[in-house]
C-alpha cells in the first residue's frame, strides 16, 4: 500500500559517534546574547560563501560545531522564520544500507516523538551533494553540568531541585524508550537546560551507526574525551547487541551521581585501558562517602 522506505543513496563507511552537541561544543554564550540577535545574519561573521552549504528552504547562518561525523549549522527556516539547528552528516557515515535504513526509521520515530523535553526533529532530507541532514529545534541554553555549576556558584543549589530536574530528564528518556528508541550517548553535554530551567535532550538515537555507539579514545595527556565516562559496562565491553534501555539507565546513574557529588563514581581519567577496566569492574564509591571526605577536607 505504501512504501515507507523509498530508495535512497547510500554512502558506505563507518559511523562511530556523532559530534558534540550543538550547544556545548562551542564556547558557552550567555543566552541573552543569542536571543538578542535581532538580525539573524549578524550572527555569522563569515560570508555566506564560506559556509559552503545550501539547503533548500533554509537560510544557513553559521557553523555551530564540527565533529567527526557531522557539522551543525544554525539556520532560519524561511517559511516560518524560526531558528533551527541543521545537522549535516558527513559523507559516508553509514557503512551499509541496513544502517541507513535504521537511521531513516529512527528519524521517523523521532519526528513522531514530540516530547516537550526532547529536542524536536522538524525535518530531514538530502543536500544537493547527497548528504543527509536533520533539522532540529534550536535551543538556547547550556549543558546540564554548566547549568548545575552556575547554580551552585550563585548559591542556588538545592538537591531537591536537582532531583526534580533529573526526574524530568529521566521521564523524557523514558518517553523515548517507550517508542523503542535508546539514546546510547547520554551525558551532560547532550542535555541542554534553557534559561527557564527546562531540560532538552539532544542527539536522540540518530546519527549513530549500528556498531560502536560510544566514541572511545583518550588524548595524549590521558584526559578523557567523548562519552566514555558515561558509558555502561556493556558499551565499554563493546557488546553493542546488549545495549538497551538499561544502558541509558546506567548513563543516567552516572549523570545523577555527578549532579549530586560533582565527581564520577570511579576514576575516569587515565589510560583508556584503566578507564574501561573501571567501568567494567570498579564498584562506585557511595556518594555519602565522597561527600564526607570532601567535608573533612
Amino acid at each position: 500500500m505504501s512504501d515507507e522506505n523509498p530508495p535512497r543513496n547510500t554512502e558506505p563507511a563507518k559511523l562511530t559517534r556523532v559530534f558534540d552537541s550543538n550547544v556545548t561544543s562551542t564556547p558557552p554564550k550567555p543566552a541573552a546574547d543569542l536571543n538578542s540577535t535581532a538580525n539573524p545574519d549578524s550572527a555569522g561573521k563569515k560570508p555566506r560563501a564560506h559556509i559552503g552549504i545550501e539547503i533548500a528552504g533554509y537560510r544557513v547562518l553559521r557553523e555551530i560545531s564540527r565533529g567527526g561525523q557531522a557539522i551543525v549549522f544554525e539556520a532560519v527556516q524561511e517559511s516560518t522564520g524560526q531558528r533551527v539547528a541543521i545537522k549535516v552528516l558527513k559523507e559516508g557515515v553509514f557503512s551499509s544500507p541496513d544502517e541507513l535504513n535504521r537511521f531513516d526509521r529512527e528519524v521517523q520515530l523521532l519526528v513522531a516523538l514530540q516530547h516537550p523535553d526532547i529536542v524536536r526533529v522538524i525535518d530531514r532530507g538530502q543536500t544537493p551533494a547527497g548528504l543527509r541532514f536533520l533539522v532540529m529545534e534550536f535551543i538556547h541554553g547550556r549543558a546540564l553540568d554548566q547549568h548545575v555549576d552556575a547554580r551552585r556558584e550563585r548559591g542556588d543549589f538545592d538537591p531537591v531541585d536537582l532531583l526534580k530536574l533529573f526526574l524530568r530528564i529521566a521521564e523524557a528518556v523514558n518517553a523515548a524508550h517507550l517508542r523503542g528508541i535508546v539514546h546510547r550517548d547520554l551525558k551532560p553535554a547532550n542535555i541542554c537546560v534553557d534559561p527557564e530551567g527546562n531540560p532538552h535532550i539532544l542527539d536522540f538515537g540518530v546519527a549513530r551507526g549500528g556498531g560502536t555507539s560510544v566514541e572511545l579514545g583518550v588524548t595524549v595527556s590521558g584526559d578523557f574525551i567523548g562519552s566514555l565516562p558515561w558509558a555502561s559496562p556493556e558499551q565499554a565491553d563493546g557488546l553493542s547487541d546488549k545495549v538497551d534501555p538499561r544502558s541509558d539507565v546506567y548513563s543516567l546513574g552516572v549523570i545523577l551521581y555527578q549532579m549530586l557529588t560533582g565527581t564520577f563514581p570511579y576514576q575516569v581519567v587515565g589510560t583508556m585501558r584503566d578507564v574501561l577496566n573501571n567501568i567494567l569492574t570498579a564498584q562506585p564509591q557511595p556518594p555519602s562517602e565522597v561527600l564526607a571526605k570532601k567535608a573533612a577536607k
Partner: protein, 575 residues
C-alpha cells in the same frame, strides 16, 4: 579540555548531604549487571518521584526519615516561600503530608513575557481561581516541514486520523485559561478550546496557545476540563493516575489521550469524554514494552492497564497502539467487541506484535453487534481475527481488497502499511451452521479460516475471474467444499498439487499455498483455465481426491502412477 577542567573544579565543592534513599537510587542505576539496574528510565523516574513524595522506593524500601531528608524539605519549603515564578509547584510535592497549596502561583516557563493576572490573595477555605490571560498572538506556531517520504506517510496518517492537528492556525486573539482547585479536583475552563495537558515532573502543565500554567499534582485525583463552544482541540499527554473528565464544545472536537508522548499506558486514571458536537477521540499508546489490552465495547473502552475510557456523543475513536520496531515481541490484544451505529472505529497497530480481534471468540458471539464502521490498519506483524461463533445461522462473508464484509455489511477495512508485508488474517466461521466465504486476498499475506470438519461451509478462493497465482498463504482448517478458481490465464499457468497442498509456479514470485487440516472432510474443486497444467506430486492413492472442472486443453502431469488416479476430471466449461 575546558570541560574536563570544569569537572575537576566542581569536585572541590562540597554539596549538601545525600540521603540513604538517594544513594540507593544512584547505586541501583549503576549496577554492573543490567538485570540489577532499573529496567527502564521510567522505573528510575518513578523511584525518584516516590522519594520526593515520601513514598517507599524500589531501591531503598520505606522512605528514610534521616535528618538530611528533612533538611532538604526545609530548604525546599523555604525557597517556595520566596520564589513566585518558576517551579513553585515542586514545593507541595516534597511534602506529601501537607495540604496542597491553596493559591497556585502563576508560573509560565513557556512564555515568560506574557502578562499574567496574578492570583488574588489566598483565602483560607475556598481556593481562588487563577486566570492566565494573554492578548494577541504571541507564540510562533510550530510548523513541521517534512520531506516527501514523510509527506506520503502523513497522507496515510490523514486517512487514519480523523482530524489531524492544525499547526498553522492563526492563534485565537484572546484565550482565557481558568484553573481552579477545590480539594482533590482541578477544574480547567478554556473557552478558546485549545488545550494541552502534560505531566512535567510532579506537576501538570496546562497550556493554551498563548498561556501556560503549572499545577502540582500532589493530592490531585480528578481533572475536569471544560472546553469552548466551538471546535475544540484537547491534547492530554500524560496525567498519571488522575481521573479526567472532558466536556467538549458543540463543534468538531478532537480529543487525544497520550497525544504526543504516547504515554497512554502510564495514564491509569479513568477518562470520561463527552462530546457536545462531533467528537473524535484518539487513544495513542506508543508503549513498546508493555503488553496492554484494549477492548472496545460501543462507547466504552476497557483498558487492562488502567482506567476505562467512556465516550458519549462521540463520532469516532482512533486507537493506535504501539510504535515499537517491527521485531519487538508484544502480546498486545486489541479487541472490538461491539460497535455503535454512527461511529467510526480506527484501530491500528503501531508496531510490535499482538492481535486485533473483531467480535468475540466466545461460543455464541456473533458479528451482529457490529453497527459502526471499523477501519483496521496493520503496520506490523499482527494477527487480525474475525469471529462469528453463532450456531445455527447461515451467513455470507467476503474478504476482498482490504475489506471484510458479512451479509452485505462492511465490517472492516484492513490496510497494510508495514514495509515488510507481514501479518495474518484469521476468520472463524459460525459453528454448526453453513457459511459462505469468498476470499479474494489481493493484499493479505496470510489468511487462515477456521470452521470445523462437518459444517458444510463453502469457501470460494479467488472467485470472479481471479487467478490463484496470488502472493498469499492460506490455511484452511475447515471441512465443506473448497472451490479454487483459476480462470484467468496468466503465464506460466502451472499449478502444483500435492495432497491437500496446492500452489502455483513459479513459487517464489506468485504463490498461493492452500492447505487444509481436514482433508478427509473437505472437498477440493479446482476450476481450471484453458491451457493450464496441473502437476500432481507425491501421489498416494488414498490421499485427498481433487475434482477438476476443466476445459479440453487442460493437462495433468503425474510424477508416478496413473495420471488420472485420485483426480476426477469433470469435462465442462467453467461456470
Amino acid at each position: 579540555m575546558s570541560r574536563i577542567a570544569k569537572a575537576r573544579r566542581v569536585t572541590t565543592h562540597v554539596r549538601p548531604g545525600v540521603t540513604r534513599t538517594v544513594e540507593a537510587i544512584v547505586l541501583k542505576a549503576l549496577n554492573k549487571r543490567r538485570e540489577d539496574r532499573y529496567q527502564s528510565a521510567g522505573e528510575m523516574a518513578r523511584d525518584i518521584a516516590n522519594y520526593l513524595s515520601g513514598k517507599s522506593t524500589l531501591a531503598a524500601g520505606k522512605p528514610d526519615r534521616s535528618g538530611a531528608a528533612f533538611r532538604w524539605i526545609a530548604v525546599a519549603a523555604g525557597l517556595a516561600a520566596v520564589v513566585t515564578i518558576g517551579w513553585v509547584a515542586f514545593n507541595g510535592a516534597s511534602r506529601p503530608e501537607a495540604n496542597p497549596p491553596l493559591a497556585i502561583a502563576p508560573a509560565t516557563p513557556i512564555a515568560p513575557a506574557l502578562p499574567i493576572t496574578p492570583a488574588p490573595p489566598a483565602a483560607p477555605v475556598a481556593p481562588p481561581a487563577v486566570i492566565v490571560e494573554a492578548v494577541g498572538p504571541t507564540t510562533t506556531p510550530a510548523v513541521e516541514n517534512l520531506s516527501s517520504a514523510e509527506n506520503s506517510r502523513q497522507e496515510i496518517e490523514k486517512l487514519f486520523r480523523p482530524e489531524p492537528p492544525a499547526t498553522n492556525d492563526v492563534p485565537k486573539p484572546t484565550t482565557k485559561l481558568t484553573v481552579e482547585r477545590a480539594g482533590s479536583t482541578l477544574s480547567v475552563t478554556c473557552p478558546g478550546g485549545s488545550l494541552t495537558v502534560t505531566k512535567l515532573g510532579d506537576s501538570l502543565r496546562i497550556r493554551t496557545p498563548d498561556a501556560s500554567q503549572l499545577v502540582p499534582m500532589t493530592g490531585l485525583t480528578d481533572l475536569l476540563l471544560t472546553a469552548g463552544a466551538g471546535d475544540d482541540s484537547i491534547d492530554i499527554d500524560d496525567t498519571g493516575a488522575i481521573n479526567v473528565t472532558i466536556e467538549a464544545g458543540k463543534g468538531e472536537n478532537r480529543v487525544r489521550l497520550g497525544a504526543s508522548t504516547g504515554l497512554l499506558s502510564e495514564m491509569t486514571g479513568k477518562f470520561t469524554i463527552e462530546g457536545g458536537g462531533e467528537c473524535a477521540v484518539e487513544l495513542n499508546d506508543a508503549d513498546s514494552s508493555s503488553a496492554d489490552a484494549y477492548t472496545i465495547n460501543g462507547e466504552s473502552i476497557t483498558r487492562a492497564g488502567g482506567g476505562d475510557v467512556t465516550l458519549s456523543g462521540c463520532t469516532g475513536v482512533s486507537l493506535r497502539a504501539g510504535r515499537a520496531p517491527e521485531d519487538v515481541k508484544l502480546n498486545r490484544k486489541l479487541s472490538v467487541f461491539s460497535t455503535k451505529a454512527g461511529m467510526t472505529y480506527h484501530v491500528s497497530t503501531g508496531g510490535g506484535s499482538g492481535s486485533i480481534s473483531v467480535g468475540s471468540d466466545q461460543e455464541g458471539a456473533t458479528l451482529d453487534q457490529m453497527q459502526g464502521r471499523i477501519q483496521i490498519r496493520v503496520e506490523s506483524d499482527f494477527v487480525v481475527n474475525f469471529f462469528d461463533r453463532m450456531p445455527r445461522r447461515s451467513v455470507s462473508m467476503k474478504l476482498a481488497d482490504g475489506t471484510f464484509k458479512r451479509d452485505g455489511i462492511e465490517l472492516a477495512a484492513v490496510n497494510y502499511v508495514a514495509p515488510r508485508k507481514s501479518g495474518l488474517i484469521q476468520i472463524t466461521l459460525p459453528s454448526k451452521a453453513p457459511a459462505t466465504l469468498d476470499i479474494e486476498p489481493s493484499s493479505f499475506p496470510s489468511v487462515a479460516v477456521y470452521g470445523g470438519p462437518d459444517e458444510g461451509h463453502v469457501i470460494n478462493i479467488a472467485p470472479r475471474g481471479r487467478s490463484l497465482a496470488m502472493p498469499c498463504v492460506m490455511n484452511l482448517a475447515t471441512g465443506g467444499t473448497i472451490n479454487l478458481f483459476d480462470d484467468q490465464s496468466i503465464e506460466p499457468d502451472v499449478l502444483v498439487w500435492k495432497p491437500a497442498f496446492l500452489y502455483s509456479e513459479p513459487a517464489d514470485v506468485k504463490r498461493v499455498n492452500i492447505f487444509s487440516i481436514y482433508p478427509n472432510t473437505a472437498r477440493f474443486v479446482l476450476h481450471a483455465s484453458p491451457g493450464s497444467v496441473l502437476k500432481a506430486l507425491d501421489y498416494k492413492p488414498d490421499a485427498l481426491p481433487l475434482e477438476v472442472i476443466a476445459p479440453e486443453d487442460f493437462t495433468i502431469e503425474r510424477t508416478a502412477g496413473d495420471p488420472e488416479a485420485g483426480i476426477r476430471r469433470v469435462r465442462e466449461s467453467k461456470p
